[in-house]
Symmetry: D2
Subunit: 348 residues, 4 copies
């Protein structure tokens, strides 16, 4: 850490900083010849120190020189992490995977129509929401455990691992029982207790970026899962909130490219939520693979204009087939061909 003093600081204020550092078993080193008076902090610093020193009289600001996240950093773990799932599906490590299915599980028919459609088109992982976070208490909230069972059954029948959103502490056991991957949604990215509990299940966890969260906060949130001893964490960019309202969110593809550099964790892209318009899903899927995403998460509904949630951003199975074709050509062109289809016999 580097303490920058104000231009008008006094000797006493400067001495107080040195004294406080000594109290904390740290050491201060004054640097002279630089534009401003600064004090370098030597020793083992801790995150709160920045806040503390900031309040001292005569201190203008305190600059960090190291990253606050550790386990998710490439500095600690240089190689890409690869997460193995049932049916031979692997997330991370070069070949993109596609997760697809309905936003919400509504009925067996709707789920089956969507699930069999996406499997046929070449999806690797089946998605479906049983617990839905809805802005309004007056909206459809999902089928709950009944939905989980339907999802697990469909995945098993089609030979696909499944992913579903874990919404709350009270659903941890049920979700871990029925799902291969636990999705933490954007509104829960900083629900730290939920992150820890998800981590403890040992299941793979997909952590969506908070719509108002920085990349640094996102990686710090991943630390909550990783620090439970669970290495099976994948990240998911799903758009951030900006002033632009012509799209539901602003997909931050810069973030995908940057996180691939900062971290070894796989990064999935969710252009359905990221754009909010079905007709933008295919171009943004192609762009996501081009920029380096390890996979896609796509909402597919047999009949989007009758969907109980997120109809506007859902593809029909036919459109999804087209998307898979496009993604497949593009993956070949950029040297990261789409992953093999899941294997019929489970191998968990």
């Amino acid at each position: 850490m580097i303490v920058v003093m104000t231009t008008s600081h006094t000797d006493a204020e400067r001495t107080a900083v040195f004294d406080r550092l000594k109290e904390l078993n740290l050491q201060g080193q004054a640097i002279t010849g630089i534009e401003r008076s600064v004090i370098a902090v030597l020793g083992q610093v801790f995150p709160e120190l920045r806040d503390e020193l900031s309040t001292m009289d005569g201190v203008d600001e305190v600059l960090r020189v190291s990253k606050p996240y550790k386990l998710s950093s490439r500095e600690v773990h240089e190689q890409d992490s690869v997460i193995g799932l049932q049916h031979g599906v692997q997330v991370g490590g070069g070949r993109p995977v596609v997760m697809a299915g309905p936003c919400s599980i509504e009925t067996e028919e709707q789920l089956w129509e969507s699930a069999s459609g996406v499997q046929k088109a070449g999806a690797h992982i089946l998605r479906g929401g049983a617990f839905k976070p809805r802005s309004s208490p007056y909206s459809f909230q999902g089928l709950g455990v009944e939905g989980l069972k339907m999802l697990a059954a469909a995945g098993s029948q089609l030979g696909m691992p499944v992913i579903t959103e874990l919404l709350s502490l009270r659903d941890v056991d049920a979700c871990a029982q029925y799902s291969d991957v636990l999705q933490i949604g954007t509104r829960n990215m900083q629900n730290f207790v939920l992150l820890s509990e998800a981590g403890k299940t040992g299941k793979a966890v997909m952590l969506k970026r908070g719509m108002g969260a920085t990349i640094e906060e996102w990686l710090l949130a991943a630390e909550y899962i990783l620090s439970e001893g669970n290495p099976n964490v994948m990240l998911c960019e799903r758009g951030i909130r900006t002033f632009e309202t012509a799209t539901r969110n602003t997909m931050d593809l810069n973030a995908i490219a940057l996180v691939k550099r900062l971290s070894h964790l796989p990064v999935i892209s969710d252009p359905s939520h990221g754009t909010g318009h079905w007709y933008l899903v295919q171009p943004m899927s192609l762009a996501s693979i081009a920029v380096g995403a390890d996979g896609l998460m796509i909402e597919v509904h047999p009949n989007p204009d009758h969907a109980l949630s997120d109809g506007a951003q859902s593809l029909t199975p036919a459109n999804f087939q087209q998307l898979m074709d496009g993604v497949s050509s593009l993956g070949d062109a950029v040297g990261r061909p789409v992953a093999e289809r899941p294997q019929a016999v489970a191998q968990s």
Copy 2:
């Protein structure tokens, strides 16, 4: 709802909209003579309808004409809500209250020094965090139930109601047992299960705005609590996330003025988190009362440069005294004098 058709829509697409509305027991009315072809939807609409119709061919966009929140709206409840607490403290209804105390409860001494300081200066409600949401798993996470007990004891001894953050489902009972007001933090504003459970306790709930949440989403989140039959909801503006990084957040005082118009719920302002700098807390406190806030929430620490959290934005008891003096004069000038001090004998 108003369905706006594209300029190039076909008769068949138009007919399909009318047919879909009929299926849903709604009625469409074409409006002619307007710039674009539009269809007004007659009957009892539901929120998802917008999404559904948006996906239909030939539809350009679907406009809402009513607000999605109900119980929090002034249209439904015209008079200001007033929330009664122990010791005769009332939140809402014209006279501002001040909540103050340490960010985190660290030790009995630290709590007592802060609590007795703020009480002496005229604060009405004692705040203190026992469960802390920290961006990093490596930061201090709070004293838990031990902290709650210390807070309740201090409140009781000083004759002040207390408020603390409810972080997780597993702490609902403990927080409801020891605290007069349950605070839902910015990261949990859309933790809908937590909102419902907080609502069920019947305790007063203070709902902080999500740092990336719109005013509409904030009022919808309040509906989750209100719709449990709990009318004791107050809102808290604590700054939103914008491109400006010179301050920790951007306090949205527009939102306070607007919410006072849209809703009957009391609105508290939190300039400690809203600015992140102790030296901006007093001016923004004055501005908050001037704009119409029903109260303030202020972090006070006996020794901010030794705080385990949020030191940079904490006031000393002496600075807090100065703030109370300023707020008091300003409240008089704007015709909303600061509320009477709490009464020594509880009256719950």
Copy 3:
């Protein structure tokens, strides 16, 4: 336009709206059976009407049903616009072009090294800044007309059209004399007088999106140029300002896909400014072409760590060659192969 009345409006307020519309030679049509009382406005509306009606007592909000931009809209001009430049270069119409060169023109040597490097690698248009908008008055401001001449000479020698930023009214003639394309920078997107003057030159104009501008405002700004009778307008997405500071800006690729749908104008992507880090330029270039951009604008400097501006985001000629190879494969895979190289003999 649709006027939504408050739930508590009076008959007199409603009548006043009808009367005001009549004054303006418009007609109001009440719609009944819808959630709220609304009045549809029949006749030829004008943009200011929304503001006017919004202020009337009893009016809650006024909704637009048509787009405010006209000439840039696909509704008016369905086919993609194609802009022809010297040396047979065409912007728009399916085959991406690449504009490259130094951020600022510094010396003849630096320009030539960059220009010949990008030409060799297959760039179509040579970029170079002679007038530089710098946040600080104490930074290098460009070589001015001397720089323009150097740019024109290099373009002529290498057989490439050139593009340069038009910063101010006083430089219109000089820029139009020496440059094939006039670039309007992000800070001038709403410098409406400059837009009109650029339009009047008849030269091709590339309009960068304001870093804080919505897509709608961007298209409206393009109207200022188009309405001078100049159809040769291309747009350029260069990143918007959001809360994320790990990258210089947040590139909005959603916007590229959406604008291609809303408008017939070509859209260029500028990942150098959009990311601010040279190591993110290649992945975001690939993503831009994948999402549908009609071209790229890339900063290339022979020696980025000695650049007088934007060194951090400049590629070396070697890195640029690699980028061109990647873009070329990707263009083939998505069915939009990179455009042919410029023809040695000018054909303007």
Copy 4:
């Protein structure tokens, strides 16, 4: 400046940094014992250095330790600047002033009705737009020089200094001839040539914050005017662009409080544009004075629902009178009473 090396940097990369510094006549000092390897840069640094060093291999980031703005900083000029205008009006120095009048000058009658109304209510400076920056080329663009003359005449007759927007280089002379204060609008905050030319006139200049501009960029823009030797610069906060769309902009009152600390320049608040709704103008005016603003700028129209621009945010003269009464009481309460009325006889 402090250069932070990556954890994996090599000795050669480190040496290269030292060598590059030596080339630039600077010196590097390695600091050991800190978390990361860092190099402090000793000597006279320049802004571009940060960018340059950032691109070097092995460098992770480069931290600034001093502010890039100089003349606008309190470090250089500790006392509040006070700007003297005609009729004894002073901006800055403790007593708030109010600028008011119509958004656009439309007719003599409309201007007079607004101007005499605001004068009667106690406004100090008359505002009125003659050149209007409009998002759409199809909107009313102002009366031009004719409007300027009407404004100057009204100011003279009422004994008030006047302020008007300078939109373009071609209007510098006319605006400087007829107006006491030149307003640079939000869209031109980084129109650096215009800033310099405005500075050269020697007239007082009010610089509005760009809707997407940081505080640092705003102060740097002020440097463009100040560095022309013109000390008469006042700043104006008018709301920034955020994700919240319920208000036209988000007023950043944090910024007012912070800028008063960082800079000696007076800061005006514009709640008309900052909120976009007339009914939020009064509460946000009170809040602005409470937070420390040196003045207000308010749009007043005799008949807001017939205004040719910004009707939705304009006050009637009666509402403005009410605002002045409120501001007056509040100014007294916070120890900064509203400035005396202008003196009938000019004293320029």
